[in-house]
């Protein structure tokens, strides 16, 4: 994990330098690049492990999720939400669920988020004033919820059973292929699949009805 830790430190240091002295972006980028390259050469054996990739993707996922909430520009928020969804797809890939990974990209990053972008373009939203900090109940609720979630995370991390779920060769070669996924969806879980599709159709008809009613 030395490589990942080092890279995170380099990125944070670069961000800090950028914030303190915004005048020399190219110099900062070059220095950061050299430091990152040195780390890569020194700890290149980390690259072959799943730990490094899981950590990198996790870091990117958290970073992009933070940007979604914090950034004042709605378009940047949407884009980093897309990055976040792609990170989730990469997690599926690490878990050897390859079909699920690519479906995640098609359905969420490729189809649903296009509609988000579309709506933002249509509404012509200007940059908002950024993250507003709520008052009273909202603030205390957020603090309590955040603390609770942090405690839950810590507890889960302490009691985790290693991470053998990501080791290569743990699953059969068939695992995660389109064939095995389809077999499960239309075999063992066929009722749930069909129920979900009926539900989606009902929702779609309802949406059309609501949209039509407003017209007349």
């Amino acid at each position: 994990m030395h490589l990942l830790t080092g890279l995170v430190i380099v990125v944070m240091a670069a961000a800090l330098v950028r914030a303190v002295a915004p005048g020399k972006p190219i110099l900062t980028a070059i220095a950061g690049g050299i430091a990152a390259a040195a780390l890569l050469v020194a700890f290149h054996q980390d690259l072959a492990g799943t730990d490094f990739w899981a950590g990198t993707i996790g870091f990117l996922a958290i970073l992009s999720a933070l940007i979604v909430v914090i950034h004042p520009n709605p378009m940047v928020s949407v884009l980093s939400l897309i990055l976040n969804l792609i990170c989730l797809a990469l997690f599926y890939l690490l878990l050897q669920a390859q079909t699920l990974a690519i479906l995640q990209v098609i359905v969420y990053a490729g189809a649903i988020m296009v509609l988000f972008v579309f709506v933002i373009m249509l509404l012509n939203l200007r940059a908002e004033e950024g993250l507003r900090i709520g008052r009273g109940v909202q603030r205390w609720g957020a603090i309590l919820g955040g603390a609770g979630f942090a405690a839950l995370l810590l507890w889960a991390l302490r009691h985790r059973q290693g991470h053998a779920w990501m080791e290569p060769g743990r699953h059969a070669a068939e695992f995660g292929t389109a064939g095995s996924l389809g077999g499960l969806l239309f075999g063992q879980y066929v009722f749930a699949t069909e129920a979900a599709s009926v539900l989606l159709i009902a929702a779609m008809v309802g949406a059309v009805l609501l949209a039509k009613r407003r017209l007349d």
Partner: protein, 345 residues
Amino acid sequence: MDPRLPALLIESSAKIALIFFVNLTAVAYLTWLERRVSAWIQDRRGPNRVGPFGLLQPLADGIKFIFKEAITPPQAHVVLYLLAPVIIFVPAMATFSVIPFGPTLELFGRTIPLHVADVDSGVLVILGLSSLGVYGVALAGWSSNNKYSLLGGLRSSAQLISYEMALGFSIVGVLMATGSLRLTDVVTHQMEHGWNILWQFPGFLIFLISAFAETNRLPFDLPEAESELVAGYHTEYSGMRFSMFYMAEYANMITASALAVTMYFGGYHVPGLQALNLSPNLAAIVQVAAFAAKTAVFLFIYVWVRWTLPRFRYDQLMNLGWKGLLPLAMAHILWVAFIVLMGWA
């Protein structure tokens, strides 16, 4: 670490470099082909000054693009403005990685399959990557802060979503016949059972029309309709950034053509090649050449159609996509399902 890993890495990098080089060269010469064929269709001469038959024209164009001033509009969102050409270019290049362009080659005692990645859900990878290209167009339109760009970006995202549906449904027929999402399986199935075009012509037609729309080519080039939107989503771009949009468009054309060949025209299959008793490597080279030739035919059709048909109106575009192609594609799925069920395929 796996001891086979270094050799595999070298092999894959070599194939990626080869595909990148061939694709970029093909893109450059497609611009030449486009101008020569359009000139031929319109009874002009076309570029014929730089090199024999104007063959060095793409090189001159490239040098010109590099030395042009790269303008960034003062009111643009700079980061997204610079990111947009990259977002559109990367998926356009990456989609080719799962398309098999030949059988295996025996080199240095290794059996080298002629595709970068043989992914189990290869078709989905292509659809997924190409669906990410929409963001490049939409972002270019939005970040330029120009009403023509914005309209072009909006139109384009609507168009791409609409025709993605028909494109996806038209492929389902082929996938049902093959019983696999793996592109190498699609090719080997056609080798054994005949090309899909022989009995899936409606599906092929829907695929071709949707592919024209997906690549923003005439008669579906509304996102950049020059008579109403100046140049649409890339109005504000200049220099190499502008050329990246064009390179992405032509790279998408190449991928779409290669996909059409793989899906419906047997991929790299050459009928009757086995009767010639060629050595395996020579046969592989012949098949790669056949694949390139088939793809080139489709690229010519792209250019041919562009200079033959006028642009659709926007409502015609939407009607064709949603009320024409989509129901047709669904009917085609039923028809193919019936044939597969009866065991006639």
